[in-house]
Symmetry: C2
Subunit: 156 residues, 2 copies
DNA sequence: TGTGAAAAATGGGGCGC
DNA sequence: GCGCCCCATTTTTCACA
């Protein structure tokens, strides 16, 4: 009836934990008092549950989200890269030092990796792309983001 | 010498604010006491600065980050979409209700939008893609993520 | 696990400089 | 804009059920 991996747990436990995670994903500074009211448990019960979620690695951390545009990083792009030097295929580690790269995924398809990058200007993008190609021995295909409707919506 | 937009500010102010933002981007629950020690100011000075960063919209919020895999969402993909019905071009709002879509960007290039989606399985991806195509009247091109080297690195 | 209460730390606001 | 004091709130831990 349920897809829980812990059949011994009380019926609503999973739902309570999901509610806590969803609430914290939207407001990482919600107080235990608020969370307790939300789920109808005592403050210490909520505290225990959240600590357990952190220890089990379901909650991996807490982040302040910053406005990239106001930080002067108004240009976002996706860069797909393909190795040109067939010897080396460790682009992620070669590129890790570039702060402009926010994400790096290995992907299936004609290209090997997709990067999400954030820079100040087209000029800065050009410099970054040259740096990427030279550092990782890759060819690049870049898709510039014009506007973002939503970003970083919580998975639950 | 500096690219600050507030020429009247003391020399190091921008750097202090950047340090605070960087610290909070990495640990959104860092206490003002910790932050104060880090930047060498008093707790209340730090408190003022962080409040101002929030009010100015440089810090847009705080989020708990969740382990999508442990939540059963182990398949990530990028979906590029192209309108097939040339009348309607409001895919973002038509698709906003789909929780599996984590990001939605309008992009330059042969396609119109790029979505980042997160689902439980290939089956779920197939269902989602059919839903996207039917809802937004678009064609889709999907790139499946095999592994993620890094994700959500702070911009500073 | 959950509850309740008590101790420790932090948050939030005002005042002088 | 910074530093310090005060008090409400929150976090954290404990014994008990």
């Amino acid at each position: 009836m349920s897809s829980s991996n812990s059949p011994a747990e009380p019926a609503g436990a999973v739902d309570v934990d999901r509610a806590l995670m969803a609430a914290l994903a939207r407001d990482g500074r919600a107080s235990y008092t608020e969370l307790a009211e939300m789920v109808g448990l005592s403050v210490s019960a909520v505290h225990q549950r959240v600590r357990r979620l952190e220890q089990r690695g379901l909650i991996t951390g807490y982040r302040a989200t910053l406005d990239a545009r106001q930080l002067g990083l108004s240009l976002t792009a996706f860069v797909s890269i393909t190795p040109s030097d067939t010897q080396t295929d460790d682009a992620p580690s070669l590129l890790a030092h570039l702060d402009a790269i926010e994400e790096c995924h290995a992907v299936a398809g004609v290209e090997s990796y997709i990067l999400k990058v954030r820079v100040a200007s087209p000029d800065a993008l050009e410099v970054l792309l040259k740096d990427i190609r030279a550092t990782a021995k890759v060819t690049t295909r870049t898709t510039v983001v014009l506007s973002t409707s939503y970003e970083a919506r919580p998975p639950i």
